[in-house]
């Protein structure tokens, strides 16, 4: 984009730029802290309504609730940093849940692994189509959304209770030292991909493509490899989300995760990752997820009349983003 005028002053944070440039550091910390501030403020506000909200129990519930969104948001973050978007994640998670629930009794752990592979492959396929046929990821994954949920419905047009071997995944619904295992899994994935983004060639390429795809191309980066890989990652995350869903409900359902798509995207953006790509991090997403989880449940817990719930939620989303969005890195707000 033309660098005319003051619109685009170089931003500071989140480009993994080695070390982190001088101009960067300051604003980086500032914009990095904003989401945390919002989270704290939100929690305090809600616990003012219902003090029990800060109890260990509530927080554990919150963690458990946010674990699925967390997994979805992790995959989404990678794709968003790449400059794309993945609308198919929730549908894919639902599909996975059905597959796992169906195959678990016979194949046990094999079913889980198989389902995860399928999810990753489907993700990769979407990335491939997007990168090679040059169709906006928005459209490809939109089509995917229809395809995967349609297939899920075709496989099992209703809830599939896990008929056996539940213990293979049951541990995901349990706690260790009071921390929900599913949440721990989410954190593990977060750490894994954080390293990949910050230290591996893959991550560097993801950021490069997100910031300036032309330059990446002209530097000989095989952009379609990177994109395929990134979408495979988001596919894998969807799969894991699906598995956790099965663990939570001890059954698979073709629409179980669908309602989590927008919240997970919201989490990524509230964290301050720029939807225009190239700027953002998984650390930010973690905060975003917490904020969204608190909003989803907290608003209700605070005892607000049901009809006002969506209003409060909407207002909070806008306010949260208004505070957390890293304007410098977006430059132009689309």
């Amino acid at each position: 984009m033309g660098t005319v005028g003051p619109a685009k002053q170089p931003d500071g944070n989140d480009r993994f730029a080695i070390g982190g440039g001088r101009s960067g550091a300051g604003s980086g910390i500032a914009t990095g802290l904003a989401p945390v501030a919002v989270l704290v403020a939100l929690v305090l506000a809600i616990s003012a309504f219902s003090p029990s909200f800060l109890s260990a129990y509530s927080l554990r519930v919150l963690a458990a609730e946010s674990s699925v969104i967390l997994l979805l948001a992790i995959g989404q973050t990678i794709v968003v940093i790449l400059g794309g978007i993945d609308l198919s994640m929730a549908a894919l998670a639902s599909l996975t849940s059905v597959i796992v629930a169906l195959l678990l009794p016979e194949l046990g752990a094999g079913a889980v692994l198989g389902a995860l592979c399928i999810a990753a492959l489907i993700g990769a396929l979407q990335g491939l189509v997007h990168a090679r046929a040059k169709i906006p990821s928005f459209i490809v994954t939109l089509a995917g959304l229809g395809l995967w949920s349609g297939i899920a419905l075709a496989i099992a047009n209703t809830t599939v209770p896990v008929a056996g071997r539940y213990e293979v995944i049951g541990w995901l619904d349990a706690h260790t030292w009071g921390v929900p295992n599913a949440f721990v899994l989410g954190l593990a994935m977060l750490g894994l991909f954080q390293v990949a983004l910050a230290r591996l060639r893959f991550g560097r390429h993801v950021y490069a493509i997100g910031m300036a795809e032309r330059v990446a191309l002209l530097s000989g980066i095989r952009v379609w490899h990177v994109k395929t890989l990134a979408f495979a990652a988001s596919g894998l995350c969807s799969g894991l989300a699906g598995v956790v869903m099965v663990a939570r409900t001890s059954s698979g359902n073709p629409t179980i995760a669908d309602s989590l798509l927008l919240p997970s995207i919201a989490a990524v953006l509230i964290g301050g990752t720029a939807i225009t790509g190239g700027h953002g991090s998984l650390a930010r997403t973690l905060i975003g997820v917490c904020i969204v989880a608190v909003m989803r449940v907290g608003v209700a817990v605070a005892g607000i009349a049901p009809a006002y719930e969506p209003i409060a939620y909407g207002a909070l989303v806008v306010i949260a983003v208004a505070i957390t969005v890293d304007r410098q890195s977006i430059g132009i707000v689309k």
Binding site: T3, G21, R204, A208, A212
Partner: protein, 504 residues
């Protein structure tokens, strides 16, 4: 004391912790062409943007026709008759040429919010004619060639004339940088013509142009105004001295004999053709040879370079790399084969502004900086610093983001990208010197020679013939997509004239 059209008084501007402009004062008199010269990052563009109201000064004031003014938005300046042509490409792709020229001041072209196309086109055509352009005002902007766009941008700057009864003031930032000699001629001619009714501030790196059209010349360096001279009293050499501050040799010296040009061919193309771009081009580039390709806009030399790098596939013809036929599916293939490419549009294709200098340098060869798993940042750092030193890149550190560097230094980074890894076989340079100052120019030309000495085959497309002649072993001239002449500098050094004739 004659009347003053526009006067900048003690303007200062900081970006972050760098002083872009420090207490600059300059004057533009009615119907005067004022030249503004200086190295990259000297603050010329910043000064113009202040005058045009794109950015606001921290200190100092602007006095227009005797009255102090403060621009709240660009519009204010434009309405007062100040038009600016930006260095960066600044046209909107999706709309017609006419709309671009009259953007934001369509005048009678839009009545009560309703567009009157016939009127709009008529108005726009008038400006195009002034520049001797024949393209239709209804043409879609994205269909124009780079230099055509540059001229349209110029036309847009001219168009402020229609907005004020006063004599307009035009700020031209590198109006000629992207143009071939014909385009340059047109622009200079127009500037001459403008002198009768407008004041112009003219920024260019081509000092001879500046001397030709300007009455007075301001010389800037490091955000300061070093000197003000009457153009008549100056020579190019003197001007360069003022700019650089120390003696430099005029013609970019070339080492006479070039023993290092090997006999072995590294890159060869046979009857390469691409529909309405270029046709049966055959070239042979030897190891250590610098091949300059000269050609007016639309001659197809840029397109040829892009094909050599695998960006566009040729319709027919073969390409051999060290004797073996290669088919490049995409730039990645080219890179894998050891071909490097420095694009003309630095900002959008050369570097990633938001990334650190080091990251930019290693982008193309990241694999070489990876341990078993992760990127070895220390090694990356070291290598980057080595090249920063070697190419004399002016940057606080290797971790500075590339967009904070001046144009010349950014170009060096873009070049370094191909040097940090294993030495490339072929390096393709598309206008590597565009808009660079003397020093940067010299550094880059030297690097090119060094590479040639190490046996790298180099293809270079450049703005000015002098540059081509200075660095090339062979010069290939293209016209309308075909090779119209070849010269081997060693044997018969062609005159500028000869080349120009085979170009047009």
């Amino acid at each position: 004391m004659t009347a003053v059209a526009l006067r900048a008084e003690g303007l200062s501007k900081r970006f972050g912790d760098t002083d872009a402009l420090r207490d600059v004062t300059l004057e533009v008199r009615p119907c005067e062409v004022v030249g503004l010269v200086g190295e990259n990052g000297a603050g010329k563009s910043t000064l113009l943007k202040l005058l045009a109201g794109v950015i606001e000064p921290d200190v100092g004031q602007i006095i227009l026709r005797g009255a102090p003014v403060r621009w709240r938005k660009v519009r204010d300046a434009a309405d007062a008759g100040i038009g600016m042509m930006f260095q960066e490409p600044s046209l909107i792709p999706g709309i017609s040429v006419a709309e671009n020229i009259l953007l934001a001041h369509e005048g009678p072209g839009i009545r009560l919010g309703i567009v009157r196309w016939r009127k709009l086109f008529a108005l726009a055509r008038a400006w195009l004619v002034k520049l001797g352009m024949t393209i239709s005002p209804a043409a879609a902007t994205q269909s124009l060639s780079f230099s055509e766009r540059q001229l349209v941008a110029f036309a847009r700057a001219l168009a402020v004339e229609a907005r004020t009864r006063e004599a307009p003031i035009l700020l031209l930032d590198e109006p000629t940088s992207a143009l071939d000699d014909r385009g340059v001629a047109a622009v200079l001619q127009t500037v001459e013509a403008l002198r009768t009714r407008a004041s112009v501030v003219f920024v260019s790196h081509r000092l001879e142009e500046v001397l030709r059209v300007c009455d007075r010349i301001y010389v800037m360096k490091d955000g300061r105004c070093l000197a003000e001279r009457e153009a008549g009293t100056l020579t190019v050499e003197a001007l360069e001295q003022l700019m650089v501050g120390h003696e430099i040799s005029t013609d970019i010296a070339r080492d006479a004999a070039r023993p290092h040009v090997a006999a072995s061919v590294c890159l060869e193309v046979r009857e390469l053709s691409r529909r309405d771009k270029y046709a049966d081009v055959s070239l042979a580039l030897r190891h250590g040879e610098v091949m300059g390709i000269a050609g007016a806009a639309g001659s197809g030399c840029e397109e040829l370079c892009r094909t050599l790098f695998g960006i566009d596939a040729p319709q027919s013809g073969t390409m051999l790399l060290e004797g073996r036929t290669v088919a490049l599916r995409d730039p990645a293939d080219a890179v894998a084969h050891g071909i490097g490419y420095v694009p003309a549009e630095r900002a959008s294709e050369g570097i990633i502004g938001a990334m650190s200098v080091a990251a930019n340098m290693t982008l193309a060869h990241l694999a070489r900086f990876c341990g078993r798993w992760a990127i070895d940042r220390r090694r990356e750092q070291d290598v980057a610093e080595r090249w920063i030193e070697r190419l004399r890149i002016a940057t606080p550190s290797a971790t500075t983001r590339a967009s904070d560097l001046s144009g010349g230094n950014q170009q060096k980074v873009a070049l370094a990208k191909w040097l940090v890894g294993r030495r490339p076989r072929v390096l393709i340079l598309d206008h590597p010197l565009r808009g660079l100052d003397v020093l940067a120019r010299r550094d880059i030309l030297e690097t090119i020679r060094e590479l040639a000495r190490d046996g790298v085959g180099i293809v270079i497309v450049a703005d000015s013939l002098d540059e081509l002649l200075a660095v090339s072993d062979t010069v290939v001239v293209m016209r309308d997509g075909r090779v119209s002449a070849r010269y081997s500098i060693a044997e018969d050094r062609p005159t500028r004239q000869a080349i120009l004739e085979s170009m047009v």
